[in-house]
Symmetry: C2
DNA sequence: TGTTTTTTGTTGCAAATGCAACATGTTTTT
DNA sequence: AAAAACATGTTGCATTTGCAACAAAAAACA
């Protein structure tokens, strides 16, 4: 079910041909650099080949929201956002990004590249995965209280690892932006959760206590 | 860019052949009936052919969340949700739904149906559209206050119509569940917005005032 | 290494929100 | 047409949250 790479099932030699046919561009970004900003408005899809990045947005109050965490094989682009919403994508580690024009993916290749349809299938899987991720995020944000948002997200992180413990994949400051809540209020709630025996923390290592 | 239907670009006679090849099932649902519930766990994708539906979830406090509003050509299914999140899809009007096993869409057709790839392209577009919708929803839910959530959603509705006025596509009770906030608190905030001259309302008809 | 920047941890206070409980109005059902 | 079910509108009050401001710890940098 999982697709390991957008090129899965395609021979290396064909990959190179395809990249040319698609006019794909591979670019490198250093940590903290902007990958795309709201200024660019091309129908281009980006695929993270290595490294990590965040999709972020600032509202008019200056509040930052981390819309999405991107990692290897994550897909992003203006095509997926409504016009008018100004988001940017910032590298959180050095990354390699492949850009392909959306039209090349959507339209059948006139030259009849034999592997085009394999790639389309792979993109389909990556998009499905993205939908799963967005739904996960929605489930968290639709919780009404900070406590429930925290527990919901922690539960998700814990489910990824065998024990009920895990490392926070970002700083507490970023976590607040990811949950769309005030940081100090979130810290207060984390303290409450500790005092009430729901969690234990040691820096970014968190353990869920099952009563 | 917009795909009008999952069958766009495919001849009527081919559509019928394809439906057979895919083992697609068309089903009818009366208003308020459950289309899928958490009990079913098949890797099946549903496509709304006509009518409307909501994806909803109840949390352990009994709070209902409207996760997503589905209309013609909307795509939904368990494949798009993380396991363990128990969502259901409820028809909000009589609807026709087409079910296709995810595998049939993802995998190349061995029989070489000539139009299989056209359908894959169409599904790709529908999924892209779904991602746009989910991002829209995320943008709203990531707002920190009820006021900002309301304005953000109203702005979206207004952008769809030429004037800065529109009809709420659901009841105020449902709106609260869509924004994931308490209904009475939301009503209070709507009153405030009216008193402060940001909006005018007449039942479900709302006008944004541009100062 | 020492300096600067960022992150974590905390608190008081004002504002926003959820909750409970109603009254009233509207729609659906029998 | 009456009854039942649902939606809208409102309020007081307790709780939660955001905001501002600060100290201490940790990390990044020069």
């Amino acid at each position: 079910m999982e697709v390991k790479s957008i090129f899965e099932g395609i021979e290396n030699t064909d990959v190179l041909k395809m990249l040319k046919c698609f006019e794909a561009r591979k670019m490198l970004f250093k940590k903290d650099r902007t990958i795309i900003s709201n200024i660019i408005n091309v129908k281009t899809v980006g695929i993270i080949l290595s490294g990590t990045a965040n999709i972020i947005r600032y509202d008019y109050n200056g509040n930052r929201s981390i819309i999405e965490k991107l990692e290897k094989n994550s897909v992003f682009g203006e095509v997926f956002s409504r016009v008018g919403s100004d988001i940017s994508v910032i590298a959180t580690s050095d990354c390699e990004v492949l850009f392909i024009d959306y039209e090349h993916i959507i339209k059948r290749c006139k030259k009849g590249c034999s592997y085009h349809s394999t790639l389309t299938d792979n993109v389909l899987k990556l998009l499905s995965q993205k939908i799963v991720d967005l739904n996960e995020r929605l489930e968290i944000l639709s919780k009404r209280t900070i406590r429930d948002k925290l527990l919901s997200y922690f539960e998700f992180l814990a489910s990824e690892s065998p024990r009920r413990s895990f490392y926070l994949p970002f700083t507490y400051t970023d976590l607040a932006d990811y949950l769309s809540v005030d940081r100090s209020a979130m810290m207060r709630e984390i303290k409450n959760l500790k005092e009430e025996g729901f969690i234990k923390t040691n820096g970014k290592h968190i353990t869920l206590i099952s009563y």
